[in-house]
């Protein structure tokens, strides 16, 4: 598989170096340990919001560093959580004296590394709260799994908590807000093909011309089941129904509808899915108040789509609309 790389070992570091050059007005890239910091960090008196995870999901998370969203992001190796020293260094660099909020996707590696980092930070007298994101309805949450994965709700929590932090919300309230967002967001995704890891050369799974992986995560791992390919409207309904029935959403609920491309799916197709997703939402009686459509949480070059629905009360909508200035999201300025 061809990839625009030089050295498989240097994929993440060279990409971050490019990001630093391209977006020096918004962010700074620190190396060894590596993290991406908001250009004007630390912001005195503001809670610092830190997220992180494996690389390969760009623009998440580094693309969300900036005014009104994240103060720092910790990129791990491709599909591999960052290490505690990265998280500690990023948190200390971003800390403006009002504590640190860690937004963590529920994967064993992310959970363990953020947990170790939080213990080290607390030993150093930094107040840390953690919000665990686990919105993926494809995974059954039971004693017999690692629990639901964190997917699209992460982007929404980063935006909304980022806006609330910019307004001066205190650490404990921000943690409660993050948990509330996670509690009322649900997601599911499907893949038309595997992704290719440029660091390992590995391909996640093999799919026939007429097959899809249904209920995929964002790391190239196989999904819940393998199904036959179908038209976009049918596939969209297959994603929307389990999402809407899980929370469950009720007729009259105001919602934010997020249709995410997993990396290789073009916008041309994504809007076809969006059209179908909004039609299903209307059928359920939901009021779609806000939309996000595009490749915001990707899985390298995977062809596929993930849908997230968030119940969006007035306060959440106000924070969603608040100014944001990052590489990937920019409005209200």
């Amino acid at each position: 598989m061809k990839a625009l790389i030089n050295d498989p070992e240097a994929v993440v570091s060279e990409s971050l170096a490019g990001m630093a050059l391209a977006h020096g007005d918004l962010l700074r890239v620190h190396t060894d340990p590596s993290y991406v910091l908001r250009q004007d960090a630390p912001i005195s008196g503001k809670v610092a919001i830190i997220s992180g995870g494996g690389s390969g999901h760009e623009p998440m998370h580094a693309g969300f560093v900036g005014l009104g969203m994240l103060d720092a992001a910790c990129p791990g190796a491709v599909f591999t959580s960052p290490t505690p020293d990265q998280i500690v260094a990023a948190s200390l660099a971003a800390h403006g004296g009002a504590g640190v909020l860690h937004l963590v996707k529920n994967y064993t590696g992310d959970v363990l590394n953020f947990q170790m980092a939080a213990e080290i930070l607390q030993d150093q007298g930094v107040a840390v709260e953690q919000v665990l994101i686990d919105d993926d309805v494809a995974v059954q949450d039971s004693l017999y799994t690692a629990g639901r994965r964190g997917v699209g709700a992460t982007v929404l929590a980063e935006k909304i908590c980022g806006a609330a932090a910019a307004e001066g919300m205190a650490l404990a309230d921000l943690a409660a807000l993050g948990k509330r967002i996670n509690g009322q967001a649900r997601s599911m995704g499907l893949a038309l093909g595997p992704c290719h890891n440029p660091s390992t050369g590995q391909e996640g799974f093999q799919l026939g011309e007429q097959e899809i992986e249904f209920g995929v995560g964002i790391h190239g791992e196989p999904g819940r089941e393998r199904l036959a390919m179908a038209p976009a409207d049918t596939l969209t309904r297959m994603l929307m129904e389990p999402i809407l029935n899980d929370l469950p959403f009720h007729p009259g609920d105001p919602v934010l509808l997020f249709v995410d491309a997993l990396g290789a799916t073009p916008l041309l197709e994504l809007y076809i899915v969006y059209r179908a997703a909004e039609a299903v939402a209307r059928e359920y009686g939901l009021h779609v108040q806000r939309r996000l459509v595009g490749p915001y949480m990707t899985s390298l070059d995977m062809a596929g789509v993930a849908i997230t629905v968030l119940r969006l009360e007035a306060d959440l909508q106000r924070w969603w609309d608040a100014p944001v200035c990052t590489v990937a999201l920019r409005w209200g300025l």
Binding site: G54, T80, N197, G220, E221, P222
Partner: protein, 201 residues
């Protein structure tokens, strides 16, 4: 049979060499039920371990394994970094400042390491994880002092993960689809014990 700083250095070098050779195979095992990078991540970690140990020889087996632990935690990432890091860190704590250990004594120290993994990862035997190779191997080493038998137990434990359904880690997302594949963590744990046999004197 004694395990001192020199033998444990050789153990780490053996692990580093075997991981470099078997990296693709471990990645492939991981691709079947995870995200295909277990070999690459561990290989990166143990390459760094070899580099650090090449600069300076620690003064005791405990100090050596502590250095190994901190290096793995700082370079591997994912779940395996903290888990193997904790394994070596808790083992190092149990070793204290002693200069040498019999096989059974080493086994008892490694038992603390396994307990550390269980505490952190909240997994048990039968969940289809590294513990399925580590628990039987460390039990045999601690009770019999027989490193070859311990390595065989680790191998058997690795094979025994094939029919299991994963209940922890990324493979658990697959549900019944995780059945029929060896767990990559159990495979790397078996590699650790295969190396321990090689360096035993």
């Amino acid at each position: 049979m004694n395990y001192d700083t020199e033998t444990l250095m050789a153990w780490m070098r053996c692990i580093q060499e075997r991981l470099a050779q078997e990296r693709a195979e471990l990645d492939h095992l991981d691709a079947e039920i995870g995200d295909g990078d277990h070999g690459s991540n561990l290989s990166r970690g143990f390459a760094k371990v070899a580099e650090k140990l090449g600069e300076r020889v620690p003064e005791s087996p405990g100090a050596l394994l502590k250095e190994v632990a901190m290096t793995l935690i700082g370079t591997v990432g994912g779940a395996s970094g903290p888990l193997y890091g904790t394994f070596f860190l808790e083992t190092a704590k149990a070793m204290g400042a002693s200069a040498a250990f019999s096989a059974a004594e080493l086994g008892r120290c490694l038992t603390s390491g396994v307990a550390g993994i269980q505490r952190l990862g909240k997994a048990n035997a039968g969940d289809k994880t590294m513990l399925d190779a580590l628990i039987p191997a460390v039990d045999v080493l601690a009770s019999q002092g027989d490193v070859a038998a311990a390595a065989q137990s680790a191998q058997d434990g690795r094979a025994a993960t094939i029919p299991l359904q994963a209940r922890k880690g990324r493979a658990s997302y697959l549900g019944v689809r995780s059945i029929g594949h060896a767990d990559p963590g159990a495979a790397s744990a078996a590699l650790l014990f295969a190396c321990l046999v090689k360096v035993a004197r």
